[in-house]
């Protein structure tokens, strides 16, 4: 091993001749070795790569090494030098490398066999060439386009690789330029490419017309595809390109995919009406060709299922083409190509049946747009005569609707047959070790459901009779068994449930009555608990989707709810969950009906529920009980009369309160009861029930909260002492024990309950007088004196943030107390590094943010040392790489700057002390690549800071060397000082930038400070420049041109400022403009 290291050092000695065999063996070791040896090899190679002279070895390696991996490594060295230090190399060296690479590419690609064998190597060479081009073309290599076009004519293999190079170049310049080159440079390259495109185009055309080499033609089409989005339109529409594509290549299996993609790209172009004829012809001709290839009566679903990759891709590309064409040019084609439109729709229907979600999504997007468009022509209106009496569907009026009628009917059938799942429930174990069910919000499948639902709703509006007919037919097929399966039944019921509200109420009722009857019949007919459970779930799903129906039929609603109570005793898998989920859904939508006396009843139904609650929930699992309580809470929340509601709440919480009281009573006699695992578990459980009750009841929950509040805070304190005690006794590992976990859970649920209620409260005085003082005493004191940082609950911070956010300025007087308790001790937890205690970190800054937003005066009254601590912690925040923390930090800073400016006196001393410091820190993150995601916010803050200086809002001299400046010169002096300061900071940080680069950058920062987007892009350009050593030649940064643009921006800004009276200092306004 020592020998390896020894030998390796030879590689780094640039006075010796390079030992290729040695390098090869080290590279080999790095790729196939293991352990220490491999690590060593990697280190050697990295050191070599970073050596400034490394690139001088590249040619030797490429020439003499026989190992592909070594060659690849050499190209990586070259790539690095081109990206960062190209401009600093002597010209002749550049020319040398350039010629060498070109020669190598020509050599490797000229022979088909070599090119094929060394494909990977060749494509890396191509990439290196493009990197060189980005720096050389057009200035140092004006003849590049003629060169490559000329060379292409020498042989087909070479030509094929040149196509690949042109494709790469197009992608680099047009697709990926943002953030990799400055805006102005990207523009120059684009312009060069467009102006010289005719030669490239001729080359492509020549190949397409004459070549019999399939691989070459394929590459040419691929390259052409990249060009289509940007080439001048004339090349596309005023040449024979389109017809060549359609008639020569579309029907050739080898080329049809890429050809169709080209046609899609063309179809998607936004042009004026002058090319309408061309589009119509393109559409008609393509359709004619398609019909020959793919007869309209083919079963695409089956063909797709059996097809190979290329065939499946063709179906997908076809969907893309048709959807793009019809979306972009729908009205035109409807006018001129009616027959072809119908054929295209026919294809799309067939493709929509393919069982591949991604393809279906493509079609769905179009169908959704079409249905929405047709609907908006004559939107839904409430007719004066009820629909069920007229018995006609509302398709009649529009000619377009008639045109699409048959297609839409088929589409309804397809969507109903493949409706997606409306909700996803995930069973997971949470951090407290409990198995819980989570409703997923934002998954692919749910988005698909939303899109399908929207489309189906439009389709139902367009012809509800047809929608109803299809659904009833399919339901019949469930009953008669022809389509019976669990999956089919679910799908159908999801579809039925998705169009709730789309029909007129009476139609909906009639439809629903039929559906429920059929489903009940089905439930009776099928044997076995599995079958019955599925059918019952579907009935309950459908019923739950139609709250309007439920609200209109009390006895039906009551029967459904009683049925759900019955299901809460059912032990078959999933039935209890289904019952609870449906119950809460119905409770939310029909809550009022349970607290009113309904026709035929003596008391409101809630009375009955409350008197039998223990029987109803006796077979439920704790989590289901919580759901049940939340549901009942929604009902009670609908009772607006306080004197009726309060007794209801009391009875509602009776069971949990009895157990609670019992434990509390025991604990008063012997506090060790609160160390009993069962008691702690029960408390956590009761608190969870309370959390759900609070969530449902909102502010009125206060009567229950008041009942348990002080006891709860005492329990909190005891739990906290128990936990600290346990940690002190047996170390931090004890927190993993189930008992300690449950104790923390009690604390967390307590905090959650309090912050949930405060955020729902509507009486700040009440909260402030009765609930905050005991909370601060118990919880804050506990947080502060907790000896073990990890035992502090991060939720304490978020609870305080919630309180401040809700009570706003009312809490200002409490802020010093909150800060005293949490600020220093939390800061000590998070100022050692950027990672530990992530939750405390996040919540700490959220608290700071809420105080800054609502109780800013509290900041101003802090002693200077403490204020500095706050500001330092904010600066600390935005240096985090944890996105949420950094973002919060930037938000706080921006808001703080704005808040400060509202307090004239404080503002000036703030600027004097901190302005320059803040500026410096913000620049440090702007230029740090790990913070680029926050660039917009950085730009916003910097722009704001420059603006206040420019506008003279800073009334003190920022230059500590010149503390006193005459007021009329102050703004100008500060601007100059800040500009020089920024220039100096940048110059020190990036000595490789030229003076002109820095000058242009700094000027731009001021000129663009009223235009955040421009400002941000300007910063982004700057970030591109700092990656690269420019050397003396900065010509391709087009700095003068950039200066000109910035000057125009400056003029523009001045004009805007002048248009607002008073914006400009009277001293700045030219004489002639003053009267």
């Amino acid at each position: 091993m020592a020998t390896l290291a020894e030998q390796a050092s030879k590689l780094l000695d640039f006075d010796q001749k390079l030992d290729i065999t040695l390098l090869d063996s080290i590279v080999g070791c790095m790729y196939s070795g293991a352990g220490e040896q491999q690590r060593l090899a990697r280190d050697v190679l990295t050191t070599l790569k970073e050596h400034p002279q490394a690139w001088t070895r590249v040619d030797t390696i490429l020439e003499f090494s026989s190992n592909q991996e070594t060659k690849y490594y050499a190209l990586q060295i070259l790539e690095a030098v081109i990206k960062t230090r190209w401009k600093t190399l002597p010209r002749e060296q550049c020319e040398g490398i350039k010629k060498y690479i070109v020669g190598l590419i020509i050599k490797t690609s000229s022979e088909n066999e070599t090119a094929e064998r060394e494909k990977v190597y060749l494509s890396k060479l191509n990439m290196v060439l493009v990197l060189i081009l980005e720096r050389e073309w057009p200035k140092h290599w004006p003849s590049f386009i003629p060169d490559i076009v000329g060379a292409s004519k020498t042989n087909e293999s070479l030509c094929q690789n040149n196509m690949a190079i042109l494709k790469l170049l197009s992608e680099e310049v047009f697709d990926f330029s943002s953030g990799n080159m400055t805006q102005i440079k990207a523009k120059h390259l684009k312009d060069s490419m467009c102006s010289e495109f005719s030669q490239i185009f001729q080359l492509c055309q020549f190949v397409m017309d004459n070549s019999a080499n399939a691989a070459l033609v394929g590459s040419t089409l691929e390259t052409l595809l990249r060009f289509l989005s940007w080439v001048p339109l004339g090349y596309i529409f005023e040449t024979k390109l389109i017809t060549t594509l359609i008639f020569k290549f579309l029907n050739v299996p080898l080329f049809r995919n890429v050809t169709l993609k080209c046609l899609t790209e063309i179809a998607g172009l936004a042009t004026g009406p002058q090319y309408d004829d061309a589009f119509a012809a393109l559409f008609a001709q393509t359709m004619a060709q398609l019909e020959l290839m793919l007869p309209l009566d083919i079963n695409i679903k089956e063909a797709f299922a059996k097809g190979h990759d290329a065939e499946q891709n063709f179906i997908q590309n076809l969907a893309m083409f048709l959807c793009t064409m019809l979306r972009q040019h729908g009205p035109l084609m409807e006018r001129r190509e009616k027959g072809n439109v119908l054929k295209a729709l026919q294809y799309l229907l067939l493709i929509s049946e393919v069982e591949e979600t991604e393809i279906f999504k493509i079609c769905l997007e179009y169908w959704n747009a079409l249905a929405a468009d047709l609907y908006r022509e004559t939107p839904f209106t409430i007719p004066t005569v009820p629909m069920f009496m007229t018995k006609t569907s509302n398709t009649g009026s529009s000619a377009r609707r008639i045109f699409y009628q048959a297609v839409l009917s088929r589409l309804r059938y397809i969507i109903i047959s493949r409706m997606a799942k409306p909700e996803e429930v995930l069973v997971v174990e949470n951090e407290n070790g409990e198995v819980v069910r989570e409703f997923m919000k934002d998954t692919d499948s749910i988005n698909l459901y939303k899109n399908m639902r929207e489309t189906l709703v439009y389709l139902t509006h367009l012809d509800y009779v047809d929608a109803e007919r299809i659904m009833t037919d399919k339901l019949q097929n469930q009953v008669n068994g022809t389509e019976w399966s669990w999956k089919n039944l679910n799908t159908l019921c999801w579809a039925i449930g998705s169009i709730s509200g789309a029909m007129h109420e009476e139609d909906e009722k009639r439809f629903l009555v039929t559906v429920i009857k059929e489903l009940l019949g089905l439930c009776e007919q099928k044997k076995g608990k599995d079958n019955k459970a599925i059918i019952a779930s579907n009935i309950m799903y459908v019923v739950g989707q139609y709250p309007r129906f439920l609200r209109a039929h009390w006895r039906f609603l009551k029967t459904v709810v009683n049925k759900l109570f019955e299901f809460m005793h059912e032990t078959h898998d999933g039935v209890q969950d289904m019952a609870c989920d449906t119950f809460i859904k119905i409770a939310q939508k029909c809550r009022r009906h349970f607290v009113q006396v309904q026709a035929g009843e003596v008391t409101p139904f809630i009375e009955e529920i409350l008197s039998t609650i223990s029987t109803i929930i006796c077979d439920l699992q704790p989590q289901q009980v919580h759901t049940f309580y939340e549901a009942v809470g929604y009902m009670i929340s609908a009772q607006n009369e306080k004197f009726v509601q309060e007794p209801l709440i009391e009875r509602y919480m009776l069971l949990p309160n009895q157990v609670w009281d019992d434990i509390i009573n025991q604990a008063t006699r012997n506090v060790d009861v609160l160390k009993d695992p069962d008691a702690v578990k029960q408390l956590a459980n009761i608190l969870k029930t309370n959390v759900r009750a609070c969530k449902a009841l909102g502010h009125p929950y206060v009567s229950q909260l008041g009942r348990i509040y002080l006891d709860m805070l005492n329990v909190y304190k005891v739990m906290s002492e128990n936990i600290s005690g346990a940690i002190a006794l047996s170390g931090e590992n004890v927190t993993k024990q189930p008992l300690i976990k449950s104790m923390r859970l009690v604390k967390k649920e307590t905090l959650k309950l309090i912050s949930d209620w405060v955020s729902r409260s509507n009486d700040p005085e009440l909260v402030l007088d009765n609930f905050i003082p005991p909370l601060l005493n118990a919880v804050l004191y506990d947080y502060q004196r907790c000896a073990v940082p990890s035992a502090r609950e991060p939720e304490v911070l978020s609870t305080m943030a919630t309180i401040v956010n809700k009570l706003e300025a009312h809490t200002t007087s409490n802020v010093p107390k909150i800060f005293d308790a949490v600020f220093q001790c939390t800061l000590d937890m998070i100022n050692k590094n950027f990672e530990e205690f992530p939750e405390h970190r996040t919540n700490f800054y959220l608290l700071l943010q809420s105080v800054n937003n609502h109780c800013f005066p509290a900041f101003l009254s802090l002693p200077p040392a403490q204020f500095k601590l706050v500001l330092d912690s904010i600066i600390w925040a935005f240096k985090h790489t944890m996105r949420n923390v950094a973002d919060t930090g930037l938000d706080i800073l921006y808001q703080l700057l704005q808040n400060v400016s509202q307090h004239e006196q404080a503002a000036q001393s703030f600027y004097q002390t901190y302005y320059i410091e803040i500026l410096q820190h913000v620049f440090s993150v702007v230029t740090d690549t790990s913070h680029t995601a926050a660039l917009t916010m950085h730009a916003t803050i910097l722009a704001y800071m420059f603006t206040i200086v420019e506008m003279g809002k800073v009334a003190v001299s920022l230059n500590s060397a010149v503390p006193v400046v005459a007021p009329e010169n102050l703004a100008a002096a500060n601007v100059i000082f800040v500009q020089n300061f920024v220039a100096e900071v940048l110059h020190n940080a990036f000595p490789h930038l030229t003076q002109l680069q820095i000058k242009v950058t700094v000027e731009g920062l001021f000129n663009l400070d009223q235009d955040i987007t421009g400002f941000r892009e300007h910063l982004r350009d700057f970030l591109v420049q700092i990656k690269e050593f420019t050397g003396d030649d900065d010509s391709d940064l087009y700095l003068e041109e950039r200066e000109g643009e910035l000057r125009r921006a400056q003029d523009e800004k001045r004009k805007v400022q002048m248009s607002v009276p008073g914006i400009l200092n009277p001293h700045e306004i030219a004489e002639e403009m003053q009267d």
Partner: protein, 327 residues
């Protein structure tokens, strides 16, 4: 709409046991269910008959339950009749104890031999559970087979030093923090499932009176276990049960009625009946304290009133809504 509500109430179900107490009492319900085609008396007779004819390996079933050993094939069980629906759990899953508890039917028709062949048991409010004391731990499972909790108790098999096993059918009363014992499936490895109810109760009470420490909370017996008394079903006894206020198990949720000859079978059995206290006055014509009568839900009507109301409704309901729905 009435039809729809009727069939919703009667035909929407997952389990199909007739007279299950999860749904409304047939006489107090607004709709007659179609599932009660065979009358209760007849079903009782059949169950007793089946019980005699079928020999089931109660010993093994009990052992499996007690030792959570569910690996044995069920070949030996193939002869059991469908009505018994009597399959032990197949795999050792967390829910292996699902559906093992014997549940009651509503007492709809009062049996002819009610006073001589049936026993009444007072039943407090609580969460029904199966208490399995085995291998040194006492574990509590819900009706649907979820493990609710585990602790140490004096029950044979329920504490660390014990190698016995015992299974009880209990009610957990959260408020009183105790377990009321309804029935016994197995005691100290003696399977009692295949024994008649009267014998099981005799055994249970014998064991509990021998060892009163079962009923006392202590370090080694985390919660008290309190067996519920049984009495023969005379009107006087039933009125007494309802009257007694000072008992640990009052107030009552209802009364259970066990047929003296019934075995312990999982699921709903027609040989166990159930009534809420307020129903007792109407079904058994016994006196019920006012305290219980007040608990009668207001929407519950007695049979006569209910029938009257229904007739009135049908007469003047040419129900317009219904017509539309039929259209």
């Amino acid at each position: 709409m009435d039809n729809l509500i009727g069939s919703l109430e009667s035909s929407l179900s997952v389990s199909t046991e007739p007279c299950s107490t999860a749904i409304a009492h047939p006489r107090f319900s607004q709709f007659k269910s179609k599932t009660w085609k065979i009358n209760q008396e007849e079903r009782r007779r059949k169950t007793l008959e089946n019980q005699k004819q079928n020999r089931y390996d109660y010993y093994n079933h009990c052992r499996r339950l007690a030792e959570s050993d569910f690996s044995v094939d069920e070949e030996c069980l193939s002869e059991t009749q469908e009505e018994m629906e009597w399959l032990p759990p197949k795999t050792k899953t967390p829910r292996a104890y699902r559906d093992q508890i014997m549940l009651s039917e509503w007492l709809d028709e009062v049996p002819a031999d009610f006073e001589t062949s049936w026993l009444a048991m007072p039943c407090p409010v609580g969460k029904r559970c199966l208490v399995v004391a085995s291998r040194g731990w006492t574990r509590v499972y819900s009706k649907s087979g979820y493990l609710i909790t585990e602790f140490q108790s004096f029950l044979p098999g329920g504490f660390r030093q014990s190698s016995d096993s015992t299974i009880l059918d209990c009610l957990w009363n959260e408020l009183k923090q105790c377990y009321f014992v309804l029935d016994v499936l197995s005691w100290s490895r003696v399977p009692l499932l295949g024994c008649e109810a009267e014998f099981r109760f005799y055994w249970l009470h014998g064991k509990f009176s021998e060892q009163p420490e079962f009923g006392v909370k202590s370090d080694k017996n985390r919660y008290p276990f309190i067996p519920l008394p049984t009495k023969s079903c005379t009107k006087g006894n039933i009125e007494d049960l309802l009257m007694m206020e000072k008992q640990s198990w009052s107030p009552l949720d209802g009364l259970l009625f066990y047929h003296k000859l019934g075995y312990y079978t999982p699921g709903v059995s027609p040989l166990v009946g159930w009534l809420k206290p307020f129903m007792v006055s109407e079904i058994l014509k016994a006196n019920v304290p006012e305290f219980y009568m007040q608990k009668k839900p207001l929407s519950y009507v007695n049979i006569q009133q209910h029938l009257k109301r229904k007739n009135v409704k049908e007469k003047h309901d040419g129900n317009s809504v219904e017509m539309l729905a039929k259209e």
